[in-house]
C-alpha cells in the first residue's frame, strides 16, 4: 500500500482567488436576488429597498473584485489557463459526445464548456442587471425582455452550480479535485487517471 502520496500543482494562487471571489459574489447575489424574486421570501423578509441596494452593490463589487484579481494577480497563469480552456481537440470532442474515457488535459471538455458559459453569463448578468437598474431611472434603457434574460441566467446558472457542487463535493470519482481549488494541488495518481494528457510542472 502506497503511503507516500505525491501532489502536483493544478491551480495558481491567482486562479484560486478568482474562483473564490466569483463564488462568494455569486452566492451573495443569488441570496439577495432570490429575496427580490420569490414572493414567499419577499413576504417573509420584506425590506425590498434595502435588499435591492445590497443586490445592486454586490453586483458592482463582484465584477470590480474579479477585475482587480485579474489586474493585480498573476496574469500569465490566467492567460495560460484561458488558452487551455479555449482549445478543444479530437479527444475533447470524443469526451463530449459520450466517449467519457477519452484522455483529457488539465481541464476536461466539460470543465472547458462550464468555464466558457460561466464567463459569458457573468457578462450577461452584468449587462441585464445594469439595464434593470438604469431602466428604473430612464425609459431608454427599458426592455420588456430584460427580466426574462436576468431570470433565465439565474435558472441556468443554478443548474450548472448544482452540477458543479455535486462533482466537487459528492461524486467519489471527482471530489478529490476540490483540494486543487483549496490548497492548489491534487494527487498525482488521480491527476494521471483523470487528466492523462496533462503534464504538471
Amino acid at each position: 500500500m502506497d503511503t507516500e502520496r505525491t501532489y502536483v500543482r493544478r491551480f495558481s494562487r491567482t486562479e484560486r482567488t478568482l474562483h473564490w471571489v466569483n463564488a462568494a459574489g455569486f452566492f451573495v447575489l443569488l441570496g439577495s436576488g432570490l429575496v427580490l424574486y420569490l414572493p414567499s421570501l419577499a413576504i417573509a423578509i420584506g425590506r425590498r429597498p434595502l435588499i435591492k441596494d445590497i443586490h445592486f452593490w454586490a453586483g458592482i463589487g463582484w465584477v470590480t473584485a474579479l477585475a482587480l484579481v485579474v489586474l493585480l494577480g498573476n496574469r500569465r497563469s490566467l492567460l495560460r489557463t484561458a488558452r487551455e480552456l479555449d482549445r478543444y481537440d479530437a479527444d475533447d470532442r470524443l469526451w463530449l459526445t459520450g466517449g467519457g474515457r477519452a484522455p483529457q488535459g488539465r481541464f476536461n471538455a466539460g470543465q472547458k464548456l462550464n468555464a466558457a458559459l460561466t464567463a459569458a453569463f457573468t457578462i450577461l448578468f452584468l449587462v441585464s442587471g445594469l439595464l434593470l437598474w438604469l431602466g428604473e431611472r430612464d425609459t431608454r434603457f427599458r426592455f420588456a425582455s430584460t427580466v426574462v434574460l436576468h431570470d433565465g441566467l439565474m435558472y441556468v446558472s443554478l443548474i450548472l452550480l448544482v452540477g458543479h457542487l455535486y462533482l466537487a463535493l459528492i461524486h467519489p470519482a471527482t471530489r478529490h479535485a476540490l483540494r486543487g481549488m483549496t490548497v492548489g494541488t491534487v494527487d498525482a495518481e488521480w491527476a494521471h487517471a483523470h487528466h492523462r494528457k496533462w503534464e504538471p510542472e
Binding site: 413576504i43 479555449d86 481537440d89 468555464a115 458559459l117 426592455f143 420588456a144
Partner: protein, 228 residues
Amino acid sequence: MTEPAEQEQHRYGRAVFLATVAGGLTSLVWGKSVWGRVSSALGPAEALVPLVPSGGWRIYTVSGSMPRFDPATWRLSIGGLVEQPVSLDYEQLRSLPHTEQVSTFHCVTGWTVKDVRWGGVRIADVLAQAHPSPEAHALQFVSMEQPYVDYLTTDQAALKDVMLAYEMDGKPLPREHGAPLRLIIPEMYGYKNVKWLAGINLVPSEQLGYWEQLGYDQDAWVGHSNGY
C-alpha cells in the same frame, strides 16, 4: 490515444463564449415573445409543475415593511371633493354589489400574468356612497404602504373593467397582492394598480404618483407608454 501535439485544436471555447453573449444580448429583443410561446405551449403541464414561482407574480414593495390587514381597524375612506365623506369597513365594502372579471396583469418591468380572476366592486358603486362633486376630475388612490399614491382621471376610472378587488382567484386577496383591497386597471401597467388601498380622494386634477415622480408615465397604457 494520440499525442496532444498531433491533434488539430479548435478554439471552441471562445466560440461558445461569444455565441452565448450574442444570444443573450439579442434575447433582449426576442426573449419575452419566445418565453411567452414556450409557457403557453406548456400550458396544461405548467399547472402541475409550475415553471416559475407563484404563477409568474413578483412582489414589489417600496417601503421597508409590507402593510398588514387588520379587519378591526381597516377602513376605506372616500374623501376630497365629495358631498358626503364616507368611511367603509370591510363588511360594508363586501355588502356592495359584487362583480368578477378575468383580466391580464402587465408589469412595466416586463412580466405578465395571464387570466387572473378578480372579485370585488366597481368604483362607481363605491363612489356613489359619497356623492362626488362635479369639480372632481381625478381620483387619488392612497395606499397603506406610505408614501405610495397614484392617480387616475375620472374617465380612466370609468373604463368598464376597472375595479376594486378584494378577491383573487376565488380567495380573499392575499397580503402580498394588497390585502384587503387593491385597484385593478388591466389597461395600465401594474404600478397604477395600487395595492393595500386605504383611501380614495376626489381631486380637481391628477398629480404625480409615486412612480411618476421617479419618471414613469402618468398614463401607463400597456404597450403604449414608458418607452414601449
